[in-house]
């Protein structure tokens, strides 16, 4: 069910600010693609154009084409809400719904979209929590608030919540940057398992993490403050980290600038 994403000539703006410029790339299904690059180069912005979350911000707009298999996400009659059901997202800071229990957090996407049958919900909640490697830790306290879990558990809860609606693609924006090393490893293991079913795109600031979890790596850069971010290159992760084509990529991953 995972789908290929083909981006061509993509620009994103915040009002008059040109945030990312002319990005074209292909994201392969059933693989992990990592986005790396210095802060402010537009990784999050680009990620958010892939499930039409960018336009949620007032004044923000997108130009260009994003094809999900053979459908254009920015086609004139495409409903952005429907796009987000197909392309799920996990955020930098774990953000479980504070008024909801663990169960309701996972079921939220389904319940809010009209699934009401208890047996069906039970089944999906269990499957999603198992999929997020969280089931064993929470199965005895599903009715307790999601906000009562540890940071790493909360992030896995958010992943369970995202996969409960059965998306084709999973976008993750620095999902481990607020977590301790143990929880980070747990999430990385999880990503490795999830990639057999989903197309995964992960933004990370951690070069080792990109090297560990991803099959392909895209390096983004920015010419200077106020300039739009650009894609410098995308290639197999092993190639990017051993023998990148671009000088800027090499400088970045060897820490010669940041």
């Amino acid at each position: 069910m995972a789908k290929r994403i083909e981006i061509s000539g993509l620009h994103a703006y915040y009002g008059a600010v040109h945030a990312i410029e002319d990005i074209s790339m292909t994201v392969e299904p059933r693989s992990v693609t990592a986005f790396i690059g210095p802060s402010g180069c537009g990784k999050s912005t680009f990620l958010r154009t892939l499930n039409r979350m960018h336009e949620v911000i007032p004044g923000a707009r997108v130009e260009g084409k994003v094809m999900l298999d053979d459908e254009d996400l920015y086609g004139s009659d495409v409903d952005p809400v429907a796009v987000r059901r197909v392309v799920g997202m996990v955020f930098q800071r774990p953000n479980p719904f504070p008024t909801m229990s663990i169960y309701d957090n996972v079921a939220a996407g389904l319940k809010l979209n009209g699934v009401r049958r208890k047996s069906q919900l039970d089944e999906i909640v269990e499957r999603s929590l198992k999929g997020a490697n969280l089931w064993n830790e929470v199965k005895d306290r599903l009715s307790r608030p999601g906000a009562g879990l540890s940071g790493g558990q909360q992030q896995r809860l958010c992943i369970a919540r995202a996969i409960a609606v059965q998306p084709q693609v999973l976008l993750m924006d620095e999902p481990c940057s607020a977590l301790d090393p143990i929880s980070t490893l747990a999430i990385e293991d999880l990503i490795a398992e999830l990639k057999s079913q989903y197309t995964i795109v992960i933004v990370t600031h951690n070069m080792q993490q990109a090297a560990r979890v991803s099959d392909r790596t895209a390096f983004f850069n920015i010419a200077g403050t106020g300039k739009p971010g650009k894609l410098i290159e995308i290639d197999d992760t092993s190639k990017i980290f051993t023998n990148p084509s671009e000088k800027a990529t090499e400088d970045y991953i060897t820490g010669r600038f940041g």
Partner: protein, 299 residues
């Protein structure tokens, strides 16, 4: 060895200076003094109302009206006033709470910086400053004089709604602004439409705060007297139809009884004041309980 070193280091750390300790003490006593001064009127008012109100607050007081009694008579009660107040404030809440919450939701979730949102904010600000007597006069001119309706609890509720709405809008606005944007985005990212996000994620998160704001607004209008004197008038008999004819109400009952030199009337005024406070307290407790029931069980 190292223990000695640590001791030396500790000794060399500077002590809190006498001046800073003095400043700390002074500010602390000032804060306590301010607290006591602020609490004195509150406690003494409560004390007065409770001790003097208790003398007459009994089942008779709650179940009898003043029908056929003169102010110098013993006995009588505020049943007609309680019924009136509950109906008038109930009608007020039915009108002002949904309108106020919807307006607050519009301003925070949809309005953004649009011209309409700015105009609404301006008028809400203006409404917040309207004196109650002016709201009463407006309804008097509009509802009673221009449209020709007669005195009724509903006319009073219209004026109270004008007073209550801006408070509810403000409370809703403030509470919705406190809801982190992360939660809205988390919901959108699940493919949940905006209106469902607002109903099932944003509003529940802000619920406790909104309920508190609404209760404050209810408490505020429950004590309003002037618009009721203009629009509901007063009566000594029970009128349980808020859409027709004069009704009693606790504030007007207190005003009327307290203006009477007879000690029996004064006693009834105190008992009515205590009743009013108790009703507000009960409503508050009830609302809090309701808000708590909606939270996930936490053990």
């Amino acid at each position: 060895m190292s223990v000695k070193g640590a001791e030396l280091e500790l000794k060399s750390l500077p002590r809190v200076s006498a001046r800073r300790r003095m400043a700390d003490r002074t500010v602390q006593s000032l804060v306590y003094a301010a607290f006591v001064i602020a609490i004195i009127p509150l406690v003494s008012v409560l004390w007065m109302v409770v001790t003097r109100g208790m003398e007459r607050l009994d089942l008779d007081f709650l179940t009898f009206s003043m029908n056929g009694l003169s102010s110098s008579d013993e006995g009588g009660g505020a049943n007609h006033a309680i019924v009136g107040t509950l109906q008038q404030v109930g009608l007020t809440a039915v009108m002002a709470v949904p309108l106020g919450i919807l307006t607050g939701v519009y301003l925070v979730e949809y309005g953004g910086n649009s011209r309409l949102a700015r105009v609404i904010t301006f008028f809400v600000d203006v409404m917040t400053g309207i004196p109650s007597i002016v709201a009463g006069l407006f309804i008097l001119a509009f509802w009673l004089l221009a449209l020709g309706f007669e005195y009724s609890g509903f006319a009073g509720a219209l004026a109270l709604a004008i007073l209550m709405m801006p408070t509810v809008v403000r409370a809703t606005e403030e509470m919705l602004k406190l809801v982190p944007n992360d939660l809205r985005e988390a919901s959108y990212a699940l493919g949940v439409p905006r209106w469902r996000t607002i109903c099932f994620v944003v509003l529940p998160t802000a619920l406790t705060g909104i309920v508190t704001g609404v209760m404050l607004a209810v408490a505020r209008v429950m004590g309003e007297t002037a618009p009721l004197l203009l629009l509901v008038f007063i009566t000594d008999a029970i009128n349980s139809n808020p859409f027709e004819g004069p009704q009693g109400s606790l504030p007007t009952f207190i005003w009327y009884q307290a203006g009477d030199p007879n000690p029996q009337a004064i006693e009834r005024a105190w008992a009515a004041a205590l009743t009013l406070i108790l009703i507000i307290m009960l409503l508050n407790l009830g609302a809090r309980l309701l808000a708590r029931l909606r939270k996930p069980v936490s053990r």
